[in-house]
């Protein structure tokens, strides 16, 4: 394969949406209603999809030929600018993760673009009195450009630039109907919340820039590992905050960005509100791609994370996945329910990354992108078909009217619930990915031996390693061969996992075990997820119609269900066989040499093996429990659900109000800000003004005194006299002031000439005539 072909294809895929964006901005209004949309579909996403497919196959070939490592190493990169001593690099990150993400994004986005054409044909394109059909596709194209650029960037700075761009696109698209108050509020909320996270990202980026001296992802990781080994650079700093070292703060800072974009627990508030945007936008940006960018970022900077930082990541992920899943249970708005489900699943990914399940988390990212995009499109179809009715309580029985939507949605539900047959390789994407995350977290929580004791046992020379420093890394298993032999008898392929030979992970000497409650929460949520998803599906499509008006008008249109069907097929087939190997391949480079052990869930370390045995049925059967429970409750409509709601009223209220976090923010930040403003105003009115007024009063008194005694009798006489005389003088002087430029020039030149003549006459004959003349003219 010719050199750099893949990079060029990737770059073409990134730039094509940009061209589409400009073309639509410049000529969009002329293209008219359907044409602009199709233009966006073809150039905004069709071309990138073609490029992505080409790259995917090219990359597969390279992998089979064993050339992929060389391609990664030789991927194009250059220097964009030099800031101080640090070159700001620009380049294409070419590895399996990029290829997988690129293909995933283009594939899903293409079908969502396609869906958008159908969606927009049924929606008003009037914003603030102007027709903005073209603008919608221009924004979508810009988003595609930014997202693909983010995936492809090899330097953190460009990652950040595209990061901000996707944030901007999200802002623009949520508030596409900006003349309505709700989207307007939602877009602001999304942008401001993201800003909080991006601030952390910026701090992390500055620390990377300052302490690692490079912004290239790979170089930064290498430098970080070196510094960790030698205790120099960022590890030499004694700065701590909240008990975190500077290196940890760097990792946490970078993660803060991900917390904003991926809507993790304290910053999650924007995502449900973002559902005020058009449904394709929710599907593309707020379910499949942009929110996944945070997870992608964490995966990319995984090697810059210290154990403490990753523990924080786990904590946040764990909180998010549990709390949001519970909220999803009580949602009645179909889109909001999906939004909370997205939050919960993102929590899973972040939790997985924090626990070291690098492969599983990214695999979950990709499988989730497929089925969640599909479900959002399905909900869009439902909302569209039901005349903008989003309340699931008013739906029901729609399967007769929308069979395709019903079935595809069910596929999504099964996938997110992790449906599969335990002990076999039969199952949907979520089955493998979620199980793997849980298995790894189980291993980290229960089977994790105290690292130092572990080390002594396995190396037999614990004395030598007694003074293991914080930064020292040792191999988990010093002898992979022996390690494999130990478990040769258990090397089977149960539970849908492959047995990879390379069973070496790295462990950071002080990596602590995961708290057990985290695993329990994640496991518990694995039972919640199928429940609320099945509840949503059942309420929407099954049972009896609860609102005749909605039911009668329900319909579906091919423009909208074709993408659904395609994505459903993708969900069923593509995930495990296509993406799992790709990501596993990326893991060798993407998480190698990191300070924390990245655990490949399919590698049969003793801990993982035990976890698999334990979880095989515990998790594998979770979906059945959840489904059956949901069906049992909602089989006959809402009656049982309402009874439960009354029985658990306090809990229900808490969940329905989303733990009062919005209210808390309102009180702490919004009201707090107003309070500060009020205090400032108080100080201004009562203290500053008081002083000023006192001075003013004093001055007034003094002035009154002066005016009475001195002014009237003493000063005024003089002033009036001067005024009168100057007025008389002015009258005289005014005479030559004709107000005509000519006369002024004439006069000025005349005077100058006369002076000139005088000087000439005075110094006639002298040698320094010229000098005198010059002096004279200068003097004037």
């Amino acid at each position: 394969m010719a050199e750099h072909t893949l990079e060029i294809a990737l770059a073409a895929g990134v730039l094509s949406p940009l061209i589409s964006f400009w073309a639509l901005v410049l000529f969009g209004p002329k293209l008219g209603k359907p044409v602009a949309g199709w233009f966006g579909v073809v150039f905004g996403m069709g071309v990138p999809l073609a490029c992505a497919t080409y790259v995917l196959f090219g990359w597969m070939d390279a992998m089979n030929a064993g050339e992929s490592a060389a391609l990664t190493a030789n991927a194009w990169r250059g220097t964009w600018a030099v800031l101080g001593d640090v070159p700001i690099t620009i380049g294409v990150k070419l590895d399996s993760l990029t290829v997988a993400m690129f293909f995933m994004v283009t594939f899903i986005a293409f079908w969502i673009f396609f869906f958008s054409v159908g969606y927009m044909s049924g929606h008003s394109d009037e914003v603030a009195g102007q027709r903005k059909y073209w603008l919608f596709f221009a924004y979508l194209s810009l988003f595609a450009f930014s997202m693909l650029g983010l995936v492809v960037s090899s330097s953190l700075v460009f990652l950040f630039i595209f990061w901000e761009l996707v944030g901007l696109c999200s802002y623009l698209l949520i508030g596409f109907y900006f003349d309505k108050p709700v989207p307007q509020y939602a877009q602001m909320k999304a942008f401001i919340t993201n800003r909080v996270g991006d601030f952390g990202f910026l701090i992390g980026l500055m620390l990377v820039y300052f302490h690692l001296g490079t912004v290239d992802l790979d170089e930064a990781a290498t430098v970080f590992a070196q510094q960790a080994a030698s205790g120099t650079g960022i590890f030499a700093s004694h700065f701590t905050m909240f008990g975190w070292s500077l290196a940890t703060i760097m990792g946490v800072g970078l993660f803060c960005g991900a917390m904003g974009k991926s809507a993790q627990f304290p910053l999650h508030v924007w995502l449900p509100d973002a559902m005020a945007g058009p449904t394709p936008v929710s599907a593309l940006i707020h379910a499949a791609t942009m929110v996944a960018a945070g997870v992608y970022l964490v995966a990319r900077v995984f090697r810059l994370m210290t154990p403490d930082a990753l523990m924080f990541v786990s904590l946040i992920g764990c909180l998010t996945l549990t709390l949001m899943a519970l909220v999803a249970v009580v949602q009645t708005d179909i889109k909001k329910c999906l939004a909370y489900s997205t939050l919960s699943q993102l929590g899973y990914m972040i939790f997985g990354l924090g626990s070291g399940a690098w492969v599983a988390a990214l695999f979950h990212l990709i499988t989730h992108a497929f089925f969640k995009a599909m479900m959002f499109l399905g909900s869009g179809q439902v909302i569209e078909g039901c005349h903008h009715e989003q309340d699931m309580r008013k739906m029901g029985g729609l399967w007769k009217k929308m069979p395709v939507t019903c079935i595809t949605f069910l596929v999504g539900v099964l996938a997110i619930a992790g449906t599969g047959i335990p002990g076999t390789k039969i199952g949907l994407g979520g089955f493998f990915s979620k199980d793997e995350i849980l298995a790894v977290s189980y291993a980290r929580a229960f089977e994790w031996e105290d690292p130092e004791r572990f080390e002594e046992e396995h190396h037999g020379d614990g004395g030598g390693h007694a003074e293991v420093e914080l930064t020292k890394r040792v191999l988990l298993a010093s002898d992979p061969v022996q390690h494999d032999n130990d478990h040769a008898e258990t090397a089977h392929s149960d539970h849908g996992t492959d047995s990879h030979a390379a069973g070496v992970g790295r462990i950071f000497a002080n990596t602590p075990a995961l708290p057990k409650w985290m695993f329990y929460l994640a496991l518990f949520t694995a039972y919640i997820t199928p429940f609320y998803m099945m509840r949503a599906w059942w309420l929407t499509f099954m049972g009896k119609p609860r609102d005749d008006h909605v039911y009668e008008h329900a319909h579906e249109s091919p423009m909208m269900y074709i993408p659904l069907a395609v994505l459903a097929v993708g969900t069923v087939f593509a995930s495990y066989f296509l993406f799992r190997p790709l990501i596993a391949d990326a893991a060798t480079a993407g998480s190698a040499a990191s300070l924390v052990m990245a655990i490949d869930g399919t590698v049969h370390t003793p801990a993982i093996m035990a976890a698999h045995h334990f979880l095989m049925y515990g998790v594998g059967g979770a979906f059945l429990v959840g489904f059956l429970l949901a069906i049992a409750i909602y089989r006959n409509g809402l009656a049982v659900g309402d009874k439960l709601k009354r029985a658990l009223a306090p809990l229900h209220t808490l969940l329905e109000n989303k733990y009062y976090i919005d209210e808390l923010y309102d009180i702490v930040f919004v009201k707090g800000f107003l309070l500060i403003a009020k205090i400032a105003r108080f100080v201004d009115t009562w203290i500053v003004d008081l002083i000023v007024n006192l001075f003013a009063a004093a001055a007034e008194r003094f002035a009154a005194f002066c005016g009475l005694i001195l002014d009237k009798h003493g000063v005024d006489g003089v002033v009036n006299g001067v005024a009168k005389s100057s007025r008389d003088f002015g009258h005289i002087v005014r005479l030559p002031q004709t107000g005509q430029i000519r006369h002024y020039i004439l006069a000025a030149t005349g005077v100058a000439t006369i002076v000139f003549l005088c000087v000439l006459w005075a110094s006639s004959g002298a040698n320094d005539v010229a000098m005198a003349a010059t002096t004279a003219s200068l003097g004037r």
């Binding site: 005014r734 002031q737 004709t738 107000g739 005509q740 430029i741 000519r742 020039i745 004439l746 030149t749």
Partner: protein, 103 residues
């Protein structure tokens, strides 16, 4: 027959005086502007001539001339703008009639 500094200075002087005369005798605002341009040009010629003859390696005169040209361009743009405004308000560019400030 050597062309010296004086030659240039005399040409410049003639242009200068011609410019002054234009400014004194024209009632058209644009005519006055043209006179100003002539005067500025004469000054620039002086600057360049002195630069070339007195200190050929210093360039100060040429740089000053460049600034003069820049200022002249700026001044012309503004002056024409003012003329147009005057024309809008008074329907003429006769400077004799633009005397409302005279009081």
């Amino acid at each position: 027959m050597t062309i010296g500094l004086t030659h240039y200075l005399i040409v410049a002087a003639i242009m200068f005086v011609a410019g002054l005369f234009t400014m004194m005798t024209k009632r058209n605002a644009i005519g006055i502007l043209i006179g100003v341009e002539l005067v500025l040009n004469a000054a620039t010629v002086n600057l360049v001539a002195f630069d070339r003859y007195m200190g050929p390696d210093r360039l100060d005169g040429q740089i000053t001339a460049i600034f003069v040209i820049v200022l002249a361009a700026a001044e012309a743009a503004l002056a024409v703008g003012i003329c147009i405004n005057v024309y809008k308000n008074l329907s003429t560019v006769d400077v004799d009639r633009a005397n409302s400030l005279r009081g």
